[in-house]
């Protein structure tokens, strides 16, 4: 086949197995002699451990072993720092990473105290009741501001305070910008993100094979290579003797990246000690505590404006909840700090954050990874500015967009990838125009809204802009190999959790090698198939691994043409590679199949010429110098019931630019899913902790994931501004849908309920019917 598949909505290669129940997820791994683990977790957020007695549990029939922290001996050590702090001057960072099992103290509800290994999960769970634990409860650090006050309880006494990190980044001089401003507007904003809650929870299966000196770990990780290297290190094994397999993973969204969760670290060690396979599958209740969250920030932000609405500068001071430990370094708050700048010209910026230890589960990136928080602040500030200066909210955004001739646009401060925050390419105004046109912005405001208001209906409109830093380094690799049956095998080191890599990567290969997409078999997430790599996060899979796949395919194409030109004794320029074969231009009956070329490249006799390699294969790597920057605009029309404050999204438009598109069907799916998570974050999902750090709504009955009824039909459009940072021109798209939904909802709900007139401002996310009731009660009473 010679048709180009790149850019086409090709149906997915992976669907057959998933649709017929034949895909292997972690809980489907069943091994002879396999044991099962259950963990006793702390039910209080902060306590000193007085006593743990596992002796009765060990007596229960079917229990094989049980371990508390002390039983791990020298194996007990804090986990690795996953991302070191970026090179920013005068940075404070107090590294305190999570431990395999709590020793001396527990620091959040759900922190594991004991792991029980039994012949079945049922027995292991039963045995948890046999463990005697005595804890001395301590006051919990829950509120960020209180946690920083003198005399507060301390999550880590040896730090001397609850400061996890303190970072200031500046661009220009905000004070001088404010001095010459027409006006400044300052507010306090609260933004809470929630839990990723993939429908598949986490799981680990570890099998030590003493005879082969081989550890195999099935793990719901997004970054198997990191996990392999880290676990080999702590287990005292060569990396080659550890194989990490991320099978089909039922959604990741960040918290499955590479956390070295206690279960990931402890199960392999136990398997080595018992010389039997061990399995642990997280249950949904555990997921609410034992898997990382992304939670709240409090921003005190000020914007300085010219009379025409141009931004002169922004100053922001914020607190970031990092939870009980900070293994992921500063990635989330740095993303907030950087993404606040958005698609706008902000000449002067002064941003300081303090990350605070709390007695709550650990915070690490979850789809958006702090970007939402920053976008909420700048978008809300612009709404307030529009109101103050009597400029239309869409218009004030337009006036501040970075012009197309200003790229690459350097925001000077340091981003999460340690590089200056520089936007590679962009053309922002057409994206805004398309979104406004699609939603019928002017017509709604001029004609429809007055009519609806006259009917007593509360319907409002919102428009929010954002950029998304994507496709960061360090690198990924891919091996493309033509098999002797003519099919193509591709292996890469990243993991897959539904992003369609089995198809989008196959499209890249298919075009280059002239084979059918269905004849390209992609392997991800198996460290024995591909040794090197980083992982699937930060919207980087398609950009970084996709480019490596492309480079490797090109190299294989070159080899195939070289082999064929030797065989035909003709110039490579006279050859056509299509339909799985190389033929001579104009003489289609004169051809040689790719599979046969692969066989010839691995000869039984003769010699592989010096300077060449056997096989029709190539391994290539791609490391971008910095990340690509996608951008987009979401617009929505939302109706609010003024009695119940329930809402209905009547229209939802996304216009997005992620450079060249590999598969528009898969891209649309990524946007849809992101928006749905954004809607959950904006209006339905809230982690409710009491002042003792207890999560009050740890079930899917009480923590409200959006259902089919809450997510509206989305209207999508795209513009294409290729990235100059990779040959394909692609940018990442994984998080785009989720990022601007909070400020969009706040804006549209304010407009629907005409809250500006009532002097009510929505400065927090998540909102909910009851929260809207509370916020508007005062206005109603006056």
């Amino acid at each position: 086949m010679s048709t180009r598949t790149f850019g086409e909505p090709i149906k997915r290669n992976e669907d057959r197995r998933l649709l017929t129940g034949q895909a292997l997820f972690i809980d489907d791994v069943e091994l002879p002699g396999m044991l099962h683990a259950a963990l006793l977790r702390s039910q209080v957020a902060h306590a000193r451990i007085i006593k743990i007695d596992i002796s009765r549990a060990l007596q229960r029939r079917g229990v094989i072993a049980a371990y508390a922290a002390d039983d791990l001996g020298a194996y007990w050590q804090p986990g690795p720092l996953l991302v070191p702090p970026p090179p920013i001057a005068d940075i404070v960072f107090n590294k305190r990473t999570q431990v395999p099992l709590a020793k001396d103290k527990v620091r959040h509800v759900g922190e594991p105290l004991v792991i029980v290994i039994a012949e079945s999960r049922y027995i292991a769970e039963d045995a948890l009741d046999d463990i005697d634990v005595e804890l001395e409860q301590l006051p919990a650090v829950v509120d960020l501001e209180q946690g920083l006050r003198p005399g507060s309880a301390l999550v880590h006494e040896d730090v001397g305070s609850n400061v996890s990190a303190h970072v200031r980044q500046t661009k220009g001089n905000y004070a001088s910008a404010a001095a010459k401003a027409h006006c400044t507007i300052k507010r306090r904003f609260r933004y809470e993100h929630g839990i990723s809650s993939p429908i598949e929870t986490r799981g680990v299966v570890a099998r030590w094979d003493a005879r082969a000196n081989q550890m195999t770990i099935w793990d719901t990780t997004q970054a198997p290579v990191f996990v392999r290297n880290g676990l080999a290190g702590v287990l005292g094994l060569n990396e080659r003797n550890v194989r990490v397999i991320a099978p089909f993973v039922g959604g990741g969204f960040g918290p499955k990246i590479m956390m070295f969760y206690p279960e990931e670290v402890v199960l392999p060690w136990i398997s080595m000690r018992l010389n039997r396979p061990v399995k642990w599958i997280e249950d949904r209740l555990e997921h609410f505590f034992a898997t990382t969250h992304e939670r709240g920030q409090i921003h005190d932000a000020e914007i300085a404006l010219a009379a025409d609405g141009r931004i002169l500068g922004v100053k922001d001071v914020f607190l970031h909840d990092t939870g009980a430990y900070d293994p992921y370094g500063l990635t989330v708050p740095i993303n907030s700090q950087c993404t606040l700048l958005g698609p706008y010209v902000v000449p002067d910026y002064d941003s300081t954050f303090t990350a605070v230890f709390t007695n709550l589960p650990i915070v690490t990136p979850y789809r958006g990874a702090g970007r939402q928080h920053g976008v909420f602040v700048i978008e809300r500030l612009l709404d307030l500015a529009a109101h103050e200066l009597k400029i239309d909210p869409a218009e004030i955004r337009r006036r501040n967009l970075i012009p197309p001739d200003a790229f690459p646009y350097n925001n000077e401060i340091i981003y999460q990838d340690f590089q200056p925050l520089s936007y590679d390419s962009g053309n922002y105004e057409p994206v805004l125009d398309k979104a406004l046109e699609a939603i019928g912005y002017k017509q709604f405001i001029r004609e429809e809204q007055p009519k609806l208001r006259a009917q007593g209906r509360c319907v409002g409109i919102g428009v929010a802009c954002y950029v998304e830093g994507t496709g960061i380094g360090p690198y990924e690799g891919a091996r493309v190999q033509v098999q002797s049956n003519g099919k193509v095998n591709v292996a890469t080191g990243i993991g897959t959790q539904g992003q369609g890599h089995f198809t989008s990567f196959a499209q890249i290969v298919a075009d280059e090698l002239g084979v059918d997409v269905t004849d390209v078999d992609i392997v991800t997430g198996d460290t024995d198939q591909f040794y090197w790599g980083a992982g699937t996060f930060a919207s980087r899979g398609a950009v970084v691994a996709g480019t490596a796949v492309s480079e490797a395919s090109r190299a294989v194409r070159k080899k195939a043409l070289k082999f064929a030109s030797d065989a035909f004794e003709c110039a490579e320029d006279d050859l056509v590679l299509a339909d799985g074969k190389v033929s001579i231009t104009g003489i289609p009956q004169k051809f040689i199949r790719l599979g046969e070329l692969a066989q010839r490249a691995n000869p039984m006799r003769g010699a592989v010429a010096p300077g060449t390699e056997p096989g029709l294969e190539s391994t290539q790597y791609f490391g971008p110098p910095m990340g690509t920057t996608s951008n987009g605009v979401h617009a929505a029309i939302i109706e609010v019931d003024p009695q119940t404050f329930d809402l209905e999204v009547l229209r939802y438009v996304v216009v997005h630019d992620c450079g060249t598109v590999i598969n528009p069907m898969i891209l649309a799916g990524q946007i849809h899913g992101g928006v749905a998570q954004g809607i959950g974050n904006a209006f339905y999902e809230k982690l409710s902790f009491d002042d003792q750090g207890q999560l009050l709504n740890a079930s899917l009955a009480d923590y409200l994931l959006p259902t089919a009824l809450e997510v509206p039909r989305m209207e999508l459009d795209h513009t294409v501004t290729p990235s100059p940072l990779n040959p394909l021109g692609i940018k990442g798209a994984g998080e785009a849908g989720a990022i601007p939904v909070g400020p969009l909802f706040a804006q549209a709900i304010e407009d629907a309920l005409d809250l500006k007139r009532k002097e009510v401002e929505l400065l927090e996310i998540p909102l909910s019917p009851s929260r809207l009731f509370e916020l508007t009660r005062k206005a109603r009473n006056t």
Binding site: K11, R12, D15, R16, L18, L19, T20, G21, Q22, L24, F25, D27, D28, E30, R60, R61, G62, S120, Y122, I123, D126, S196, S197, P198, I199, E200, T201, F248, V249, G250, G251, G252, F253, I281, D283, R284, Q497, G498, Q499, G500, M665, I666, A668, G669, H672, G673, G674, V675, A676, Q677, S699, L700, L705, T707, A708, L709, V711, R713, M714, G737
Partner: protein, 163 residues
């Protein structure tokens, strides 16, 4: 006391995807674990253990049920259908085909439950509206797709099945 000592094993007879199974289960064994662990039908997934997410949906005597909230002993004498029983050889059931065509799945973990719920809807309402599909799927959570393509997949399947 151990689990074995506490509970007597119970014999059950269940027809799953047209095959008759005689099996012995603990009284507390959930139908989903019976299917997954004793029959090796791992296409039915557990997402929440508490009947909110719907990933474990199967058909029990023709009705869509959440198999994490049904005891295996309750299925004694019943007919069960799971996602493994839908395709006819290499040919997809129209609902499976709809999901593939409309990209109604990403990670695929909720998909078997979604499909079983959708099939039950289409067996009782062959010509559903968008809104009826959404209501029918309300008890099945998906974290990847935003549901839009799932609704379209079910609509496409409905049209195919009506012929």
């Amino acid at each position: 006391m151990t689990a074995e000592a506490e509970y007597a094993a119970v014999p059950i007879n269940v027809a799953v995807n047209g095959i008759n199974y005689d099996a012995v289960v603990e009284p507390r064994t959930l139908l989903v674990y019976f299917l997954r662990e004793q029959l090796n039908l791992t296409g039915t997934h557990v997402g929440c253990d508490t009947s909110q997410c719907g990933a474990c949906t199967v058909h029990l005597n023709g009705r869509a049920v959440k198999s994490c909230t049904v005891l295996a002993v309750q299925a004694d004498g019943a007919e069960v259908k799971t996602v493994e029983g839908l395709a006819d050889g290499d040919n997809f059931h129209p609902v499976q085909e709809g999901f593939r065509e409309k990209h109604g799945l990403q990670c695929g973990y909720c998909t078997p439950g979604m499909i079983m719920t959708a099939m039950h809807l289409l067996e009782t309402n062959p010509n559903p509206s968008d809104d009826e599909i959404k209501h029918a799927l309300e008890g099945n959570l998906c974290r990847c797709t935003g549901y839009q393509n799932i609704v379209d997949a079910v609509m496409t399947a409905a049209m195919r099945m009506r012929g």
